[in-house]
Symmetry: C2
Subunit: 319 residues, 2 copies
């Protein structure tokens, strides 16, 4: 069935899951009409709290997200899970992810769950991800859990746009220096040591607390929480929920929290502006990028000269 | 001591390691004079083969790179290792990396080894990385091993600019679906299963070969090689060297290989152009990004409206 714009707007306002799913499919496909409708949506009453969850493959992240979703729902909230896979279209990652995901939350119709395969032109964050979050926010969800695959920069880019960032670790998957190197120290509001019934959980916790103690926090800054969970049994999940509520209160109730929100949004806007600028420039350049690349391979031009040459073409095309 | 431009040029041509190190420090710091000198360097005779190596933290990647470097050197080549850390300046990753890296290659003065902390404005690849590779290429190295931290998108962006991409896996660190999801299938020319004396190495190999058999290769395309190594003892390293030579011959001697090189360079140019366009736009926008971000947080503007507003400002500033 074909919906009119008015029906779509009414569906979003009413939180109709079929309409929400259809609009997300539209932004994922880059449908111009849907994008324009979504851009015109004003945020409804209420305010979604967006919790981003990232962690290494095999850390049990999806189970943790499902557990959190079910509990928030049991507390009377409307909950959505957006699983974002920034890997390239080549791998068909998100489709595979859907197929292999057999979780309790998905079987529960009252939690909206959706995966998206989307990669920004310039990195992990794409406009489609931001649009999907905007749709869910306007549809009146109280809690949106954004889950990513892996712990790479693309995932960090996505998760850092959330209000509250959860980083999932497991015992025995790399030492604390690696936590620093993956840039996780910088983005985590809450560290969850999952599979905490395994050997080494206490060592990971001790290392992490030692690392955190090295960070100079300004007065009023958020001190990252470290929780231990066993997501498969639900142990420790309440503690993660409590920490996420505390973090939300800090964000909304303190000057530092407000400043952090502005910083996060500014970073997101910057990424999206960069993405659009490059897309527009590439449209103007046509086959020139390939031509310059061929010259680099033939060694008649260096890559640095090619970049300058392309920028000159972009500037000339604007005149 | 202060070098003149002529001395720097002569130093590069002669492969003087102090000059090389100084120029890399210059591009890392964004020194305009050094950048301009580096941009003007024409590639010398010879042609460096750039081998990118990535893999999860704890996979023994650095040991593998050291072993490869030493063997290429023993075969009479001039070898450089560039260890790139795309994590944010906040963590000071590269400095820590240098301090904790205690490897055999570093102790061998005839292998040039250098780490860089650098993140592009829009992702992993930064102009400084490309400049450093250009310096090493012009300095006449035969083989440049580019090593990255982690297996995130930032690392993928860096490693995919190499001529030959090596992805290091270890038994027991996530299943094959995760290999797909991390985007590694797409970039690997050579898979190395390191720590192959551990339980599970054969399972990883079997899974990987099964996955690879699912990929439809066009005639003449490169079929990724799977090698098992124990980098700490040197077992299997010869096989990796042989595979990398075979891949180089394919790149240089086949139409498909040439097309692949053009594609890789085109992607790199596109990323660098995007980075420059955003940097220029942000310079013009000044404090506007923060102002729009504040309005988003105050909910007087949606993020999608803010992006459009900023783009309009960028367009107006150009007139």
């Amino acid at each position: 069935m074909k919906y009119s714009d008015e029906q779509l707007r009414a569906g979003i306002a009413a939180g109709d899951v079929r309409v929400i799913a259809r609009l997300i499919t539209g932004v994922e496909a880059g449908d111009a009409a849907v994008r324009s409708l979504v851009a015109s949506l004003q945020r409804a009453t209420g305010r979604a709290h967006i919790v981003g969850v990232t962690g290494a493959p095999g850390s049990g992240k999806s189970t943790l997200v499902d557990q959190l979703a079910l509990r928030f729902r049991n507390a009377g909230e409307r909950v959505a899970i957006l699983a974002v896979d920034p890997s390239s279209p080549f791998t068909g990652g998100a489709i595979l992810g859907d197929r292999i995901r057999m979780n309790s939350a998905a079987a529960d119709a009252s939690v909206f769950i959706r995966s998206m395969a989307t990669r920004g032109a310039l990195g992990g964050l794409s406009k489609a991800t931001v649009e999907a979050l905007h749709i869910l926010d306007c549809a009146g969800f109280d809690r949106i859990l954004v889950e990513t695959v892996g712990v790479g920069q693309a995932e960090v880019d996505i998760v850092r746009t959330a209000d509250t960032c959860v980083v999932v670790l497991v015992p025995g998957m790399g030492d604390s220096v690696q936590i620093i190197k993956a840039g996780l120290m910088e983005i985590a509001d809450i560290f969850v040591i999952n599979k905490a019934d395994r050997d080494g959980a206490l060592i990971v916790e001790k290392d992490l607390l030692a690392l955190l103690s090295l960070v100079d926090l300004e007065p009023g800054a958020w001190r990252p929480v470290v929780s231990r969970t066993v997501a498969t049994t639900g142990a420790g999940i309440e503690e993660v929920m409590t920490a996420s509520e505390r973090h939300r209160a800090w964000l909304e109730g303190s000057a530092q929290g407000q400043a952090r929100r502005v910083r996060v949004v500014a970073q997101m806007l910057q990424t999206l502006v960069g993405e659009r600028l490059l897309a527009m420039a590439l449209q103007g350049l046509g086959g020139q990028v390939d031509k310059f690349a061929q010259e680099c391979v033939a060694r008649t031009r260096t890559p640095l000269q090619a970049v300058d040459g392309l920028l000159a073409l972009v500037a000339a095309a604007r005149k």
